[in-house]
């Protein structure tokens, strides 16, 4: 048991919070509540008490929800959509548990089978904060399982998106086996090809043939298994009339294999099979490097990641938890403090404070009265209210925002990348050169030699270096930027930055940081903070919550005659004093010098000071915008009221266009208009309402306070702390694209050299075996080295905390 310095309050043995007087005592330990005691008892009963010895930060409090509140999980429809796998005996499910924070969590969660016999296996992925459970539905129902997790302080993060179709990772295990097979074959084929290179012609024919046949055997898995990564996309692209880089690569692979097997089977030469395997191996490495990105960051959040999975339905006066997918228009819901409204509804209770910051980014809660329309995505602040749904979840305003065409079409901004554009011309030029050279040799040396030359040209021109340049260069640039907390979805998103002409900002939360609360005015007397906190504690209004937090008081006095006048303030008698907290008019009668919009308090009729909440520009923003304005057209689209625009206009560079009172649709339309005029637009925003605009823009950047936190669908996530360096990062992204062009130049030089040799008939397997890896390796070295060198200007990488 630990004692706080003032020896007044014991800390809870489980969660570490101060205990009330008297504390809940059990087995020599103090607990702050019955919930924490219950967790302790569960763990003790299962002999898992060592949990407390291992904890390095306070444990999460057990939830006091009842098993019935999870009953909706057992409905067959919900159950089927939630679980990952099921047969007659077992079911597998994975839960996101945001509470996982230390090794004790891991230890406890992986010992769940000791708590309940129905849980067969439990495995935690620490970085993804996910627990993979195998359980026996006959012994433990899903609702019981979730309830057990919630009871011990790990309530799963059940969101609507858990019900939606699970996305299959595009980068699967099959890729690694393909890479492994290609590497294995490449290494062995090199060994077998080496004697021929070292002493050409002097090898015993029996050995030469044996080596060649073994190589042919080893080349089969490379061609049939590993290379399918290129054949598939190339074929699909061709059928849609698109010429991706996979087309010339596939052509090269096929010609290499065809020609080599002809040489081996006709015993006219050793073939180029080792080069083929090396080529495929290097290309797969490049693909791997490109895809090895940050899988724990989420770039595809839509509203489903934010919406709860269940809501409290009122049926004939009884409360029942149901899955929100089952909600229909006309249903009556009970909404509690801090709960999200899942669908558009009409308020039934007399009044409510709704916080739409999650949807609009607008920070001030909206006051609503009975009969008023509420929109999905609003968060209730304060006492529980009753609402009647006017639409089902899928028909609501916020949901429909996602169903717009922007989200429907699979817009892949990177599909027409520089490399893909080049590969069409590249292939056509190579085929023409091959035909011309073939024609010339056919004229002079007959058709046999002509076919040899044509094959040689197609083999040496295989754009290995070309295919590697972009993944390696941009992949490394992406990694270096991520170390500075600017995370791109993939290299195509990074490539998109180079052409940007306009930057569109969303004001709320992007340029300004969260509101700060400041006390000013008369000094608070010794007793005053406690009096004010006690009164504020009675109210669920956000300002009261802010006030309480600011004052940092924990022991509250009893409040008499409490009353709350909506839109005005709160009043009551605390410790013999009459307290009023609220607008200037309400608390002081409007005479003191507090500024407009401040929250004032008075004690026994005398002014006690005031709180002023203000939005501040994030530090360094002004300088950043001035630097950016030199290169880009800056636009500010804000959902805020017109009157806030004036203050911004003074704070920002003169060239910034500021447009206030923009709805999500206005923002989207604005960006579409810019794009129609031929501009490339980067949108920087944060609210969910920006999702459409973020998706429509050529590069959508979400600002996030924490990289792992929620952010809407976007191409890149920028940590709020890294924002002042944005201009340098954008410059680096442009530089990276220049480096890609240089890399392409280098690889084309190699191709030119190779083709020059090939058309003269000087291409031998040794030359191919040297030239092809050399071009790949030099492109890789150039890409890696130059991006590291250019990153000097970026400043030091940021060490991630936690």
């Amino acid at each position: 048991m630990s004692i706080t310095p003032d020896n007044m309050h014991a800390k809870c043995f489980h969660c570490g919070d101060p205990c009330p007087q008297p504390a809940v005592r059990f087995e020599d330990h103090d607990f702050c509540c019955e919930g924490c005691k219950a967790v302790y008892q569960i763990l003790q009963a299962s002999d898992l008490g060592a949990y407390y010895d291992m904890l390095d930060a306070p444990a999460g409090r057990g939830s006091n929800r009842t098993a019935e509140q999870y009953a909706y999980l057992d409905e067959p429809e919900v159950f089927r959509q939630l679980i990952d796998f099921q047969d007659e005996h077992i079911a597998k499910i994975s839960f996101e548990l945001p509470q996982i924070h230390c090794s004790a969590c891991l230890w406890l969660l992986e010992r769940l089978p000791a708590i309940h016999a129905g849980i067969i296996h439990s495995q935690v992925d620490f970085l993804q904060k996910t627990c993979f459970l195998t359980f026996s539905p006959a012994q433990i129902k899903l609702s019981e399982l979730v309830h057990l997790l919630a009871k011990i302080g790990y309530e799963p993060n059940l969101r609507l998106q858990n019900l939606q179709k699970k996305q299959v990772s595009g980068f699967d295990r099959g890729f690694y086996t393909r890479l492994g097979v290609a590497g294995f074959c490449f290494g062995n084929m090199m060994l077998l090809a080496l004697p021929e290179y070292l002493s050409p012609g002097s090898l015993e024919p029996a050995f030469r043939q044996f080596f060649a046949y073994v190589n042919l055997l080893l080349a089969l898995p490379v061609l049939l298994y590993s290379s399918s990564v290129f054949f598939g996309p190339a074929w699909r692209g061709l059928r849609q009339g698109m010429f991706s880089i996979d087309v010339p690569v596939s052509l090269g692979i096929l010609v290499l294999f065809g020609w080599s097997s002809w040489e081996i089977l006709s015993q006219s030469g050793p073939g180029y099979l080792d080069s083929l395997a090396g080529l495929v191996f290097f290309l797969l490495l490049g693909k791997w490097f490109q895809h090895k990105t940050y899988h724990r960051l989420h770039f595809d959040h839509d509203y489903g990641a934010f919406f709860p999975l269940s809501a409290t339905l009122l049926e004939g006066g009884r409360e029942r938890s149901v899955a929100i997918s089952a909600l229909q228009a006309g249903d009556r819901l009970l909404l509690r403090h801090a709960e999200l409204l899942p669908a558009d509804a009409v308020l039934q209770s007399p009044e409510a404070q709704i916080d739409y910051s999650f949807v609009t980014g607008e920070s001030e809660p909206v006051h609503k009265q009975a009969g008023e329309q509420l929109y999905a995505g609003g968060r209730l602040m304060g006492a529980a209210v009753e609402v009647a749904l006017t639409r089902a979840v899928s028909q609501s305003y916020l949901t429909r925002l996602w169903q717009q065409s922007v989200f429907k079409e699979q817009r892949r901004p990177g599909l027409h990348t520089l490399i893909d554009k080049m590969s069409k011309h590249f292939t056509l030029v190579i085929i023409s050169i091959a035909l011309l050279a073939g024609g010339w040799w056919a004229w002079h040396a007959g058709p046999a030699q002509a076919i040899r030359i044509m094959a040689a040209v197609l083999i040496i021109a295989c754009p290995c270096g070309l295919a590697l340049t972009m993944p390696i260069t941009l992949g490394n640039a992406l990694r270096l930027l991520a170390k500075r907390q600017f995370y791109f979805r993939d290299i195509h998103a990074l490539a998109g930055v180079a052409g940007i002409t306009h930057i569109v900002w969303d004001k709320t939360g992007t340029l300004t940081s969260k509101e700060r609360v400041q006390t000013a005015g008369t000094e608070l007397q010794a007793e005053a903070p406690r009096l004010i906190a006690s009164l504020a504690h009675q109210s669920a209004h956000p300002v009261s919550r802010q006030l309480e937090q600011l004052l940092g008081q924990h022991d509250y006095l009893e409040v008499e005659d409490f009353c709350e006048i909506p839109g005005q303030g709160i009043a009551g008698r605390v410790g013999g004093h009459q307290l009023r907290i609220g607008t200037r008019q309400f608390s002081l009668g409007g005479e003191a010098g507090a500024p407009e919009g401040a929250t004032c308090f008075s004690i026994d009729g005398r002014p006690g000071g005031y709180l002023l909440s203000e939005e501040r520009l994030r530090p360094g923003i002004q300088a950043l915008l001035q630097r950016l304005a030199r290169r880009y057209d800056l636009l500010l689209l804000s959902g805020d009221h017109q009157h806030k625009g004036e203050a911004l206009r003074q704070a920002l560079p003169a060239a910034t266009h500021i447009m206030m009172e923009q709805s999500p649709h206005d923002k989207l339309a604005r960006i579409q208009a810019l794009q129609a005029a031929g501009h490339k637009v980067m949108m920087i925003g944060d609210g969910l309402n920006d999702a459409g605009a973020l998706k429509q823009s050529d590069v959508g950047v979400a600002i996030s306070e924490s990289a792992e936190g929620f952010s809407p669908a976007c191409d890149a996530i920028l940590h709020a702390r890294a924002l002042p360096g944005l201009d340098r990062y954008l410059q680096y992204a442009r530089r990276a694209m220049q480096l890609v062009r240089t890399g392409i130049g280098i690889s084309l030089l190699y191709n030119l050299l190779g083709i020059a040799l090939a058309v003269q008939g000087l291409l031998s397997p040794v030359v191919v075996a040297i030239l092809m890896p050399l071009s790949s390796v030099s492109v890789v070295l150039f890409g890696m080295g130059s991006t590291y060198y250019a990153a000097r200007k970026l400043g030091p990488p940021v060490r991630e905390s936690g």
Binding site: D47, G49, D53, S103, V124, L127, R173, T177, F184, V214
Partner: protein, 56 residues
């Protein structure tokens, strides 16, 4: 020198074994979470072990 046929056969079999081990590891999901095992290995097996170690 005829033995070289045999030796190459043997070496390919051994290297093939390594490849099989790699494929087994990939299919066993060993590359999907490379961080958690580093924590798991530091946790002792039972409560008793843990207390023994602490008193040392």
């Amino acid at each position: 020198m005829i033995v070289i046929f045999l030796l190459i056969g043997i070496s390919l079999c051994i290297a093939g074994g390594a490849l099989a081990a790699f494929i087994w590891a990939v299919n066993g999901r060993q590359y999907e979470d490379t961080y958690t095992p580093s924590i798991r290995i530091l946790i002792d097996d039972s409560k008793q072990d843990y207390h023994d170690q602490e008193s040392n």
